[in-house]
Amino acid sequence: MSETVKKFLYLNRKAPYGTIYAWESLEVVLIGAAFDQEVRLMFLDDGVYQLTTGQDTAGVGMKNFSPTYRTLGDYEVKNIYVDKDSLEARGLTQDDLVAIAWEDWETEEEIENIVEVVDAARVSELMEESDVIFSF
C-alpha cells in the first residue's frame, strides 16, 4: 500500500477498562496492519494490565477484548515490549501476562512468545529508534 517502511511504536499506557484508549489503540494497530510497516507495541504504566491473563469484564458490562491481543502476531506485529519497572511497581511478572505467538507464513519461522520484558534503558532506546510513536 505504501513504499515507505517506517518503524511504528505504539505506546499503551492506560488500563484496559475505565477509559476507551486501550481498545481504540488496538483498533489502530489492527487497521494499520494493512500498511506493511514495521510495527512494535510497548506496554507501560497501567498499560501493562492490558496484557494480563484472566480478565473478566462481566461486572463492568464491557466487552472483554483481551483475547484480541493474542492474535496480534497475525497482524504484522512482531515485537511486543513490556516495561519492567511498570510491571514490578504493580506486583506483576511475565507469568501474569498472555503469551503471543508469531509465525512467518512464508518462511514458517515461528516464535512462541513475542512478549518481552525490557528495562528502562531499552525502553528509551526503542523510542529513540522509532520513526513514528503513537501514544495511547
Partner: protein, 145 residues
C-alpha cells in the same frame, strides 16, 4: 517540515484540542506544512457543527474550520478527466465517530439515523487515514492524555 496532527480529546473538557490548534497555527505561520489533522477517541467531538459555546468563549470547532480554510488544510485529487476534487483534511475517525454520534450524510443513511451533525469543513474517514498520515509525515504530533 511536514506535520500530521492527531487529537485524542474532546473540546472544552480537555486542553488537547486548544494546544493542537495553537501548535498547528504556529507551524503554518512559520511556513511548515500541516497536511492532515486527525481526530480520534473523544477528539471526534471537535467536528460537530452543532457546538454552541457561550459568546464570550472561543468556538473550538469554528476555529479549526477557519484555520483549515485560511491555510488550505485540504487535498486535491484529479480524476482521469482532469476534474479536481478538493477535500478537507480535518478528518474524523469513522469508528470513533459512530460510537459517539458524529454523523455525516453517508453514515446517517447507512445506519438509519435521522440527522447529521458533521461540520462541513470536516470529513469522516477511516483509521487508515491516520496510519497513512504517520507514514507520509516527517512528524506525527499527538495531543491528548
Amino acid at each position: 517540515m511536514k506535520f500530521a496532527i492527531q487529537i485524542n480529546e474532546g473540546p472544552y473538557q480537555h486542553q488537547a484540542s486548544d494546544s493542537a490548534y495553537f501548535f498547528t497555527k504556529a507551524a503554518l505561520e512559520q511556513g511548515h506544512e500541516v497536511f492532515r489533522v486527525f481526530f480520534y477517541h473523544d477528539g471526534v467531538n471537535n467536528g460537530t457543527r452543532l457546538t454552541t459555546p457561550p459568546q464570550d468563549d472561543r468556538n473550538i470547532v469554528e476555529r479549526w474550520a477557519e484555520l483549515a480554510d485560511q491555510y488550505k488544510i485540504q487535498s486535491v485529487t484529479k480524476d482521469e478527466n482532469g476534474n479536481e476534487t478538493v477535500q478537507t483534511e480535518l478528518v474524523v475517525c469513522v469508528a470513533a465517530a459512530q460510537r459517539r454520534g458524529i454523523v455525516d450524510e453517508g453514515e446517517a443513511k447507512r445506519n438509519g439515523k435521522d440527522a447529521t451533525n458533521i461540520h462541513p469543513k470536516f470529513r469522516i474517514s477511516g483509521l487508515g487515514q491516520l496510519v497513512e498520515a504517520a507514514i507520509q509525515a516527517d512528524r506525527l504530533v499527538v495531543f491528548g492524555d
